[in-house]
Structure formats: structure tokens, C-alpha cells
Symmetry: C2
Subunit: 355 residues, 2 copies
DNA sequence: TTGAAAGCGCTAACAA
DNA sequence: TTGTTAGCGCTTTCAA
């Protein structure tokens, strides 16, 4: 079958130790020997079996990646960033997805630990209260979270609270008063909570009353009638919707269109994620953007530094978010002038603090 | 550090051989012994190190996955399908992306072989003339291609030629005469060629003259002026565009909108991929759909059957494509009645052969 | 039913 | 500079 270091040694007429050295520390072997060994390696098309090395207790050069799903481009983009750096630095990636399921998260981490990965990059449903992460803290391997916005653990994320707050302030600055937040059914994540808190803060600071997030099953690709009724009926219907992610925003937009509501004339929409694709919509979706690729890269570098024992940065790494204004937000003209003016001022003032 | 089988043996008061048997063949050990060993395993939180097993036997339970990119949801969806089955069957996935680069394809395959994966699932730029695949055919590991539409190698794909042909016939049936095909710059793939051939055949069978594919750099997210000119100027401008993928179609639609061309009134658009997201556009994008998730699942099952030595299916596995008609296609009313009628007849007749 | 021992492919003391 | 040898954690004969 596949040649081993033994075969190479036999072929070259040296010991396996010499072959090993020829591969791992070429400068320590006689040039002539080296040449002969290399000849043999080529002749046999030998490739060192990493399993041997790995078993030996050396570095496995394996990094585990745990993500909720690849169906959401947010995570696919993070992975893309990670993969880029991993490939360049000679690491291999072992991937597992969890569908936001706690049991699958547990299983993924167990499997990856068993495989002796040198490090872990992961996004979990809820980082703060995660017993498995405590275990990792206790006896390794090292890990870095992505998108889990927690101060308690090594992580790379945007400031979800601030980002949502900025976005909702922008809506308020456009004269909106009745702003509703829509969230996916998997709303039990730390991010979702923080985004809602940001929304609530922005509302309160403007003297408005925040509402609980309205849950929407957006896997159905269809808006439930009850939800639609909530959005469209009565004089107290919202004039703007803050959706907890872009996919949800797109589904909502379609639902509204079907109900003959125009975006943005009848309803303004703000998304979260800043997907490249949602900007291609007509009108382009306004959205709070997260630098997913950068988050992946940053998580990688952070993990590598930790593994090297030379990480000096903060525990929680906050990357700047962006605010993509777009065609889906209209200004409300019918608000009382006084209130509207002050809202705009407040919005602009705070907008200046944006990255 | 992490406990080994030795520690368990010592703790339980038996030999490592017995512990191994207790884990891998519980029925061959005395129930009392078994209980004691299991106690020790729990007490020490022992998890067998797969590296030991892998090195010993040939079963690594590792499958390599090689994809061009995860930025395109097509591949992310395939991977999702693969991951689902892999997790259920206790396999681990090692992922590498290539960005359609031949050198990176080579490197990925080499790395994965070295890691002793038991099988490989991959999408390459061009499968027919790929020396590395010949090597794999020669001395393993077993592999299955996804989306590479070739008769010469183990693969799972739609019939790209037929699919493109069906789509263009549909355009013709709607009265279109001047139909142009747009392709991404990475058009050197086997799929792109076959899709263009399908377009050309449909055109010729309708007595129309196919044009070479117009290359568009859609990573720029912006339509080049020269391309735009080609699409909009003169009386001979195309009335319909067949885009080689949905992402491209979305970028093109935006370009047209900016040039004040209405879709579909001024220009009809047909995409390829059938992304869920592109159906959320306004108007929803007409597109030829590929069952990506199923392609991933099918590739997995096909690979497993081959590894088990019990694969009985065809070398090339063709899955049905779908034709999603949508708001982006308008009927052309100004075509001569005779020609238009016959085109529709032909279209309907052929449409019946669709899955 | 259990244990002793060999060996999977490799690295790293230690010797020569 | 090169070789000998002892493991890394595990499975699997072969004996007991």
C-alpha cells in the first residue's frame, strides 16, 4: 500500500531516523545523504503520515470549527476567512455544524477534543451559560468564539447591543415612532438578547416604549397570517421593522409585498448582517453589517496567538460594525415637528460615534 | 493530562486489552468486568483517542471535502447535506477550499491523502482533464465529484447541458429571439461549457444564432460599462439574458436597474442555481434549480457505498433539475405570430420532458 | 474470559 | 553525521 518511512529508509539505504531527520531537520544531515533520501522519497512518492506524528504527541496541526449552520452566509463567510489563513499556515480544519442544537454542540466539541485538535473556533447558541466552555477553560484545548458577544470568554464579535442601538436610533432619526423588532425562532441566543436590549435602549432614550420581539419562523419562507395582521392592521401599526437578520428581513419584505404594502413607503425595514446579497435587492436592504470574513480571520489569529502562548489582546475582541443605509428606509413626514426635530438631532449626534 | 487506556486499565485493575475489548466488543467480556471497566471509564472521563485506532487500523473515519468556495451558497448547501449524514454516521469531515485554483486543488488533495482520509468528495474546476483525478483513480482514496458533470468519473450532478437547454427553450417559448448568455469570469469550468452548449443547442433548434458567452466579472458587484453598453444599445440589443448563475443574475439586474432598464419589461432574466434567496427578490428571479443539498447527500451515500465495495449505481449520477419560472421573464409580444406560435409549441413539447 | 506482546508510522533521546 | 531504540494510544493475535 502507501509507502512508509521504513520503505524510504530501505530504498535509500539509511535508517528511518535519518529519513525522519532529512524531512524534519534537513540541515542536520549530510548533503549527499539528504539527496539520496530525497530521491527515494520521490521515487516512492512517499508522504509522511501525519497520524504517526500526531500520535507521537507532536502537534496535530488540526483546528476544529463548530458552526450553527452553513445555510446562513454569515457563518459561511466566517469559515471562508478561517480557511484562508489555515491553508496558508499549514493547518487542517475539521468542521462540524450544530443547527443551534445544544446536544449537537456537545457532541461536536467532544468529537473534536477526542481528535486532539490543537484549538477550537466556534459559534454557540449561548456562550455565557455554557458548561462545555467552562470545561474547555479548565482543561483545553484553547478556543475562540465568533459572534458570541460575551465579555467572559475569548471571543471575536461586533458589539451587538451598540449596533442594534445605532440602527434603531437611525430609524428614530428618520421620524419613526412605532418600531417593532422581529426575531427568528432561534431567538434564545446571546446575540438576539443583546440586539433586543440595544433596540430597547434606543427606544427608551427617545422616550418611546419598546415592545417584546415578535417571533417569526422564517424557515417557513412565508409570513404567518397572525404576524402579518400584527404588522398591517390598525392605526397603531408599526412604521418600521427592525429584523434580527437579513434573511428574515427578506422574507418579511416578500410577505409585505404580497399584502400590498410598499417598502419603504408603507413600511421601513432594517436588517442585521449586511449580507452582500441583500444589497442587491430592489430596493437595497438597509442593514447593520458585521465583518464576517474579518471575524473569522481575527478569531484565527487570536487562537494562534493563544496557542503560541503570546496573546496579549483583550479577552473579548470587538470589531466595528457598519450601518448600511439603503432604499428600505423612508423618512416619516407626519410626525409632530418638535419631536421629529429632536429625534433627528439625537440620531445625528449618535451617528457620529459610528465606526 | 488526558487519560489513556492505560490509566483506565490501572484504575479498573485489568489489562489494557480487556479495556479495549470492553469498549469495542462488550459481549466478549465478563459482565462484572465490563461494569468495573465502565466505572473506571466514567470516573476518569476517558475518551478513546482516535489517533491510536487510526494508526493501527486503516479506518480513520475521516472524509475530505474539497470545494471551490463557500461564498457561493450552492457549495455551502452541498456541504450542509454532507455534514448532516457524516455526523449521523460518525464520520469526521476535513474541509479545504480552492477558489477554483488548480494549484490549491492539488494541494488540498495531497494534504487530504496524507491525512489518510477514507474518501474524498470534491468539486473541481474541470473534471474531465484533471491529472490528479487520474491519480486518485489509480491509487485511491475513493472519491465522488459534485457538480462536475462528467460521464468519465464518479459524480453527482444535474445534466447541465439539458438544464440550460430547457431554460433557453422556455425563453424562446416566451417569444424571445435575441438571447445572450452571460458567464462569470471563472468560465473555464466544465459546467460553464456544458451550459453554453445547451444554450447553443436550444438556439439552433429554434433557428436562431447562438452568441459566445459574454464574460462578466461579478465579484466587482458592478457591471462594467462595456458590458452594459452591449446589453442596452441598438435595436439589436438582447431581450433576454441567460446568466450562468444566480449571483451573476442579481448583479446584472442591479446594473440594468441603474441604467433605467426595467426587469422584465425591458429585459428578461434567467438565472442558474435556483438559490432560495434569489426567489425573495422583487420580482422573484426565474432560475434553473439544482438540488444542492441532495447532491451533497447523494455524493455521500455514493461514496459510502463505494468504500463498502457495494456500489451498484452508474458512474455518473444525474439528479433532476427544476425550472423555476418567475417574475423576471416576460413574454415578447412583437414577434411575428407564426414564428412565435411555433416557438411556444416547441417549448411546451420539450417542457413536458422536464422532471 | 483475560493477559502479554507485537506493531501501526513516526519522533527523539541516547549511542556510536 | 548516522543508527538504535523506546515509546505515543490503540487493536489484535496468540497463550494462558
Amino acid at each position: 500500500m502507501t509507502p512508509t518511512i521504513k520503505d524510504v529508509a530501505a530504498h535509500a539505504g539509511f535508517s528511518i531516523a535519518t529519513v525522519s531527520r532529512a524531512i524534519n531537520a534537513p540541515h542536520t544531515v549530510n548533503p549527499v545523504t539528504l539527496a539520496r533520501v530525497r530521491e527515494a522519497i520521490d521515487a516512492l512518492k512517499f508522504r509522511p503520515n501525519p497520524l504517526g506524528r500526531q500520535l507521537r504527541g507532536e502537534r496535530t496541526r488540526l483546528i476544529g470549527v463548530v458552526l450553527p449552520t452553513l445555510a446562513n452566509p454569515v457563518f459561511a463567510e466566517c469559515l471562508q476567512g478561517i480557511d484562508e489563513l489555515a491553508a496558508a499556515q499549514g493547518f487542517r480544519l475539521m468542521l462540524m455544524t450544530t443547527q443551534y442544537d445544544a446536544e449537537r454542540e456537545r457532541h461536536a466539541i467532544e468529537t473534536l477534543r477526542a481528535q486532539r485538535v490543537e484549538g477550537l473556533i466556534l459559534t454557540v447558541a449561548d456562550a455565557d451559560t455554557h458548561p462545555l466552555l467552562d470545561e474547555l477553560d479548565a482543561d483545553g484545548p484553547l478556543y475562540v468564539l465568533m459572534h458570541n458577544d460575551t465579555k467572559r470568554r475569548p471571543s471575536v464579535s461586533v458589539d451587538n447591543h451598540q449596533a442594534a442601538c445605532d440602527g434603531v436610533r437611525m430609524l428614530i432619526a428618520h421620524g419613526h415612532r412605532r418600531i417593532l423588532m422581529l426575531a427568528g425562532t432561534l431567538a434564545a441566543s446571546d446575540r438576539a438578547r443583546q440586539r433586543h436590549a440595544g433596540y430597547a435602549l434606543a427606544m427608551q432614550q427617545a422616550g418611546l416604549t419598546p415592545a417584546p420581539a415578535l417571533e417569526v419562523d422564517f424557515n417557513a419562507q412565508e409570513l404567518a397570517p397572525s404576524v402579518l395582521a400584527h404588522l398591517t392592521s390598525g392605526p397603531a401599526r408599526p412604521t418600521a421593522l427592525f429584523c434580527s437578520n437579513d434573511l428574515l428581513a427578506m422574507v418579511v419584505m416578500r410577505g409585505l409585498r404580497r399584502a400590498r404594502l410598499r417598502v419603504p413607503q408603507d413600511m421601513s425595514i432594517l436588517g442585521f448582517d449586511g449580507l452582500a446579497m441583500s444589497e442587491l435587492l430592489a430596493p437595497p436592504l438597509a442593514s447593520i453589517g458585521t465583518p464576517n470574513r474579518d471575524i473569522g480571520c481575527e478569531a484565527w489569529q487570536c487562537l494562534m496567538a493563544r496557542i503560541g502562548g503570546q496573546y496579549a489582546g483583550p479577552l473579548a475582541n470587538t470589531l466595528p460594525h457598519t450601518l448600511r443605509t439603503g432604499g428600505t428606509i423612508a423618512a416619516i413626514a407626519h410626525a409632530p415637528l418638535g419631536a421629529r426635530g429632536s429625534a433627528i438631532d439625537r440620531g445625528l449626534e449618535l451617528g457620529g460615534a459610528l465606526s
